[in-house]
């Protein structure tokens, strides 16, 4: 390729001058185009958590019932009877602004893969949505597309969508938030992890073919969002929930054998991040032969294949003697299955294509030298965000205003588009209780599931807002009679390079950490979405409200004993708590 590889190109890939210098130092030479692509996605905010990592470390993550905390594809907690709940929440904000239906749909697809990749059958989806002002042009189209997309994907894969939340605020006019959560069930001693092992073992690609979808999606979702976003459109990924359903069944069928050494879904930064993470975690090297990658389009380059975000794909390391058994399962389900490489003892990721070595990067430095920033913050001016209502308006007027407010009105028009009953275990559907209750198949156990966050509070005071979101999730679970076990989170904020935004992030995490500690409600998985900003015509950056969405999970011993909202006849209404 006749492109000059230099700091300027690196910058257009989203790497700073310093970051590019580190690349040069690691490589000891100018990187190839493909190598630069790999560095840029691995060191993007999305994959490296470079702005949030030092703060995330302060969250409590342990409890006797936590089996796997953050660091794996999803969090895993013990729910009794030899079973584990596997769950996580993830954002698909930017793609959902560009193409609401596909953005939201592929968001659901991605989070499902994070869960079944660990050996869990997905049993419930939730979705936390924030949209712009209902009167803003464009809001209707985005709401419509996102809700259809969430439903379109979840309904087809046959996982019930049992809860979520919807807020409207003008701060989300140009930047909606789509946070999707999936919960799955696995045997607690049969959890699949991503650390690769066994030099020589085959690296296997399964699922859909690779196309030119979403190339640079991971860096796009970290790049500030402005009017040019429109011109970045051709990178949207299109999801195929039907293939995802087949992938779930095929993976679970293979997982019932002992053929798999390690497995990882191809999410953001597709083949790059899955290969790098599997090999890196296992302390081995990996060699990929891209000629073997199933391709949807002709003439794809190594760069394109490494960065493609085509959906519904997984990468696995298999025991060599079991590959044919695995191939038969995937062929039965009409899915692509290809051996695209093997593990090595080099400690490098080596990428070959058409006889040439397109990339050869040492994995340890790629991970260890990944940028980590302690970005500056400023003290926040917390006065003035929440105004008391002007004059006493009278209780009747106040009540009517509240009932009519888009944030409090019925959400039935949303959840009526989501299949909430498939699976036959939804004991409390959306709207029926403070948390949805889903019975665990074959047991009496019920999982209590909720998502919560009140962005207005977080703007007024990020620390107490973060704490409040955790507390509300805890209360919603408790109110059904379940015992809260753990949370997943999705931290949605603006540009962390602005000190006031960084302060919101730091403070919100502090609040969450305090609440989680106080309630013995550890964080076991999560996701960070930054740079959620739009530029006004005058050039002013407008960030979304700080939105640390919390997904809570609890367990009740007998799903049929859960408490709903409907007030039984002949009962008294009792208020408890302090004034």
């Amino acid at each position: 390729m006749s492109v000059t590889i230099d700091a300027k190109l690196a910058q257009s890939f989203g790497l700073t001058g310093d970051e590019y210098n580190t690349v040069l130092k690691i490589m000891g030479r100018t990187p190839s185009f493909t190598e630069l692509g790999i560095f840029s996605v691995m060191w993007s905010e999305h994959c490296s958590y470079k702005s949030s990592r030092i703060h995330l470390k302060t969250l409590p993550t342990k409890a006797p019932w936590v089996i796997h905390g953050p660091g794996e594809n999803a969090g895993v907690v013990d729910i009794g009877e030899g079973l584990a709940a596997v769950f996580k929440m993830e954002s698909h904000n930017h793609p959902s602004f560009i193409e609401p239906y596909q953005g939201a749909a592929t968001g659901v697809g991605g989070i499902l893969r994070d869960v079944f990749t660990m050996g869990a059958r997905p049993i419930a989806n939730l979705n936390a949505l924030r949209f712009g002002d209902p009167t803003h042009t464009g809001t209707r189209r985005i709401v419509d597309g996102v809700v259809r997309g969430v439903g379109g994907y979840g309904n087809c894969v046959g996982v019930p969508t049992v809860g979520g939340e919807v807020n409207f605020h003008k701060a989300y006019d140009g930047n909606p938030l789509v946070n999707a959560m999936t919960v799955g069930i696995a045997h607690k001693d049969k959890i699949f992890l991503s650390a690769a092992a066994g030099v020589g073992n085959p690296v296997v690609y399964v699922g859909s073919k690779t196309g030119r979808d979403g190339i640079h999606g991971a860096t796009m979702s970290s790049a500030e969002f402005d009017d040019e976003a429109a011109s970045k459109r051709p990178t949207v990924q299109v999801g195929d929930p039907f293939i995802e359903k087949l992938l779930i069944e095929a993976c679970l069928e293979l997982m019932a054998t002992d053929a798999i050494v390690a497995i990882q879904d191809m999410g953001a930064a597709g083949l790059t991040s899955s290969a790098v993470e599997m090999a890196g975690k296992g302390g081995v090297g990996i060699e990929l032969d891209l000629d073997a990658v199933p391709q949807r389009e002709p003439n794809m380059t190594a760069y394109e294949m490494m960065l493609s975000e085509s959906q519904e794909r997984m990468l696995m390391v298999l025991k060599p003697e079991r590959t044919e058994e695995a191939r038969a399962i995937f062929e039965k389900w009409d899915l692509d299955f290809a051996i695209i490489g093997h593990l090595t003892d080099t400690g490098h990721i080596t990428v070959k294509h058409k006889g040439a070595v397109e990339a050869n990067i040492p994995l340890d430095p790629l991970a260890e030298a990944a940028p980590l920033y302690d970005r500056p913050t400023v003290p926040l001016n917390l006065a003035g965000h929440i105004q008391p209502p002007p004059d006493p308006v009278g209780i009747e007027h106040a009540l009517l205003t509240l009932i009519g407010c888009p944030d409090l009105a019925s959400r039935a028009w949303v959840w009526n588009q989501y299949d909430a009953t498939v699976g036959g275990n939804t004991a409390r559907k959306p709207g029926a209780a403070d948390a949805a209750i889903v019975r665990v198949d074959g047991t009496r156990l019920g999982l209590a599931l909720t998502t919560d966050c009140t962005p207005r509070y977080c703007q007024a005071n990020p620390k107490s807002g973060g704490a409040q979101a955790v507390a509300e999730a805890w209360r919603n679970i408790t109110a059904t009679g379940a015992k809260p076990l753990a949370v997943t989170d999705n931290l949605n904020f603006g540009n962390p390079e602005r000190p006031e935004i960084m302060a919101q992030i730091a403070e919100a995490i502090k609040g969450m950490a305090e609440a989680c500690k106080a309630l013995d409600f550890p964080v076991v998985s999560g996701n960070v979405s930054l740079y959620n900003e739009t530029r006004s015509p005058s050039g002013l950056a407008q960030a979304i409200l700080p939105t640390p969405a919390i997904g809570g999970l609890g367990v009740i011993e007998d799903a049929s004993k859960s408490i709903g909202l409907a007030m039984p006849e002949d009962h008294d209404l009792v208020l408890i708590g302090e004034i």
Partner: protein, 233 residues
């Protein structure tokens, strides 16, 4: 009762159906993969809900043309019992085992909600545990449930009393135009129909999701109890 549930790629309510059949009959039905060439020894074949082959052309179209459907047709022609729920109903119409077709919901949106059904014919094995006129509740979850048929087919269905279930209000009143009682806009509020010999039945809502007092209720049980009684004798 020896029931078999046909599983296509994309089927997703086969477990729900299996659970309901096991509950009433005590026997675990066998799952029949769509590539199998024989149904084996069964006395009831069920086509369950889901999105067979992604439903990418028309709902149920690809399933209807799959090899296993030839077996299902032969089974039905010999007088076998075939139940199609949701995607299964769509497949049965596409395969011409039941007349008519299921169009996109009138509101063009996927609908997931409870509906009420009125039993219009209680003389089939599927419905004889109800009385004609009984009303029960069932969840529905579909995008293409808007039943249509040509005027002569419709006339025939009505004359032969082959409408098994109609969408209605909770008090049993029927209004074709009212989206609250006929949510997907079906012709004559038709939710389920029977074949001429009353042995093939298709319906859109999901009685199999209402067989457990702890999960929503037991409104769907009579259908399965009726079947067991008819088939076990």
């Amino acid at each position: 009762m020896k029931a078999g549930i046909v599983v296509f790629p994309g089927t997703n309510r086969e477990r729900d159906m299996g659970h309901a059949l096991k509950l009433v009959s005590g026997h675990t039905p066998k799952m029949i993969w769509h590539r199998e060439t024989s149904l084996g020894d069964v006395d009831l074949v069920v086509l369950p809900g889901g999105f067979s082959f992604g439903d990418y052309l028309r709902s149920g179209a690809m399933a209807a043309h799959s090899p296993i459907l030839r077996e299902v047709k032969a089974f039905a022609e010999k007088g076998g019992y075939v139940l199609g729920v949701c995607n299964g109903f769509q497949t049965l119409t596409e395969a011409h085992l039941l007349p008519g077709a299921l169009l996109r919901n009138a509101g063009l949106r996927f609908l997931s909600q409870d509906c009420h059904l009125k039993v219009e014919n209680s003389s089939s094995s599927y419905t004889h545990h109800w009385k004609k006129g009984d009303v029960f509740r069932a969840p529905l979850a579909h995008g293409d449930g808007n039943y249509t048929a040509s005027p002569d087919i419709l006339k025939k269905l009505e004359e032969e009393e082959r409408v098994a279930f109609r969408y209605c209000r909770s008090d049993g009143t029927i209004s074709h135009e009212d989206r609250a009682s006929n949510p997907n806009g079906s012709l004559n509020s038709i939710a389920g129909i029977l074949s001429e010999n009353r042995r093939v039945c298709g319906l859109m809502p999901h009685p199999e999701n209402l067989v457990d007092a702890e999960i929503g209720g037991v409104d769907g049980l009579p259908l399965f109890k009726g079947l067991v009684e008819a088939l076990v004798g």
